[in-house]
Amino acid sequence: MDLLVLILQGVIVAATPLVFASIGELVVERSGVLNLGVEGMMILGAIAGFAVTLSTESYFLGIAAAALAGAVAALLFAFLTQVLLSNQVATGLALTIFGLGLSALIGQGYSGESTTPLAKVHIPLISDIPFIGPVLFEHDPLVYLSVIVVAGVYWFLSKTRAGLILRAVGENHDAAHAIGYGVIKVRFAALMFGGACAGVGGAYLSIVQTPLWVEDMTAGRGWIALAIVVFSAWRPGRALMGAYLFGGVTVIQLHVQGLGVDIDAQYLSMLPYLVTVLVLVVISHDKTRANLNAPACLGRPFFASS
């Protein structure tokens, strides 16, 4: 039982960067933009977060810096794709390349440095409930923030007028423009939110999970986040589930090895990816097609014709 508690705690830590990155990208894609630069924004957030936390000794400033770094990177993407109407797929990939390079360049002086990880929060009484307490209520503040953000996005998209506008822009930007919504403004805002989230997700790696900096430390998590957005059928709750599923299988396969089970470790490493595909197939199959389609304008450049 104790081991199960520890495993679940590990799963949550592994999944949290993915939660941040995917919920941010989900909002972006709901507004009709495909930003493949998530990896680049995450890694920029990671170096910004680490560098600022190290020099100011303030986690708050570090996380804020990470969000800012991600948002600024997204701003660059937004300018290129929304104002200069550049191809979104290629621009996103360019952002990833640029982000990986820039972060490595900035990070040159920081390898070999370390800070203390962000501490867990112990909530009196609640954290002591057997099983549920330690599993759900004894984590660092960013874990709770990630869940709050997901809930917030859900509420925003489905219950607020602004969310409705954002979804309208994503489904039919020409009609939205005709009604008078500022398509480009909405997308800029969505992109910056997505960038900030990706940045915080990256900072989780460099401030909480492994408080150090090495280049490319995101190791492809941005791509997994993109996959999770697709997996989620662009619904926030499902994105949370997808992140935990992926993070979960990753952690569990490590435990399986430790327990001495006789399966080749490299086959076990494939599990997270195969399981994600399998679950997607199952989910996609028994729902009506309409629920699963991406926002109709995803990836299309918006050009105001009037």
Binding site: I7, V13, P117, Q209, L212, V214, E215, D216, T250
Partner: protein, 358 residues
């Protein structure tokens, strides 16, 4: 007028001096190819530190160049060739995956010397070198065996190549020799370098009861997790004390500097020959970080003695009787492992649970 003339003559003299000193000695150009970033604080970092040691040793007589993050695939041959074309006299390629690209380029540049790390193919102008890290693993195995209270040692391994398997076997044998009840849990992360995944693996091992960690991956992530959870760990490739001031008991340090300096000097003296070098603690290629104060004095003494015995050639970490995991006899009593067996090691020794990924 006089002032100007004086200034002119000073300038002229300076200029002449510069020209003359520039042309006075021929520089030896040394190239380095790294598979990872120099900031990895592990494998490539130590190679780069050794490169800096070469610069320090020879000053103006050498000019070093390095290329980092060179993948072992199609790009490697081009990078090595570019270094050769750039006039480097000796080129160090620091990962086993560079083996065939190095030989390929070496054929085209017979006058350039190549040094390939951890490989086994040589040529007239290609030498190989590697470090007997397993000697260091023996020492940390002894310490681990004594320091573990749960009798479980966690091992974070990257890929099942002979070097990694040697390390596991050596550490296990040493730990078992001082603690017959010890068990090793090995987790394969299928990467040399992914701090997040290494941290996940460290936590999983600790969750399953390991209270001492060893790693054969490149980042200090596992050390940080050990520090956070109050566990002991051993640094890999470099001293990781900064990441685990309480956790690190000691570290295995790759020190290529003595070898690099030797080989560069040989090029300068014209005495370079293709050799196969497999050095360990004795010649200084495998270093160890200072032992932590958390290690009791008697354990320290035992480990130090083993360290010195290995250095002096009195102790070989693989000395029989040792059986393979399937029970078959590998080494008879008193027999030490031939280098050939070690170079291609692809089996666990008896007592390690779980099977080796194929």
């Amino acid at each position: 007028m006089k002032m100007t003339l004086r200034k002119l003559s000073v300038a002229l003299a300076l200029g002449l001096a510069m020209v003359m000193s520039g042309g006075a000695q021929a520089q030896t150009k040394v190239g380095f190819v790294y598979v990872g970033p120099v900031g990895d604080h592990g494998w490539s970092y130590e190679h780069n530190q050794s490169r800096l040691a070469v610069e320090k040793e020879f000053g103006d007589k050498v000019k070093t160049t390095y290329v980092e993050n060179v993948s072992e695939g199609p790009d490697a041959a081009r990078v090595i060739q570019q270094l050769a074309r750039a006039g480097n006299d000796i080129i160090f390629t620091t990962s086993f995956g560079f083996m065939n690209p190095t030989l390929q380029v070496a054929k085209r540049f017979p006058k350039v010397k190549f040094e390939h790390a951890t490989g086994f193919k040589r040529a007239a102008n290609v030498a190989t070198y590697s470090a007997r890290f397993y000697e260091g693993r023996h020492v940390i195995g002894l310490i681990a065996g004594k320091m573990t209270k749960t009798n479980t040692v966690g091992y974070i391994a990257s890929f099942p190549i002979p070097e990694v398997v040697r390390g596991i076997n050596a550490a296990y044998l040493a730990a078992k020799s001082v603690n017959p009840a010890v068990k090793f849990k090995v987790v394969w992360v299928s990467t040399w370098f992914d701090p997040g995944k290494e941290a996940d693996a460290a936590k999983a091992l600790i969750d399953q009861g390991a209270d001492v960690l060893m790693q054969h991956t490149d980042s200090p992530a596992a050390m940080q997790i050990a520090e956070k959870l109050g566990i002991y760990a051993f640094g890999q490739a470099s001293d990781m004390r900064k990441f685990g001031p309480n956790a690190q008991l000691t570290a295995i340090i790759d020190d290529w500097a003595p070898y690099y300096i030797r080989r560069v000097k040989a090029v300068m003296d014209g005495t370079w020959k293709s050799t196969d070098t497999w050095d360990g603690i004795g010649p200084g290629m495998v270093g160890m970080a200072p032992f932590s104060d958390k290690i009791p004095a008697d354990v320290k003494a035992m480990a130090t003695k083993a360290h010195d015995d290995i250095a002096a050639g009195k102790l070989h970490p693989f000395t029989g009787p040792i059986n393979k995991q399937d029970g078959s006899v590998w080494l008879k009593a008193g027999q030490t492992a031939p280098d050939g067996d070690l170079a291609g090691m692809n089996f666990y020794v008896e007592g390690i649970e779980g099977s080796l990924p194929k």
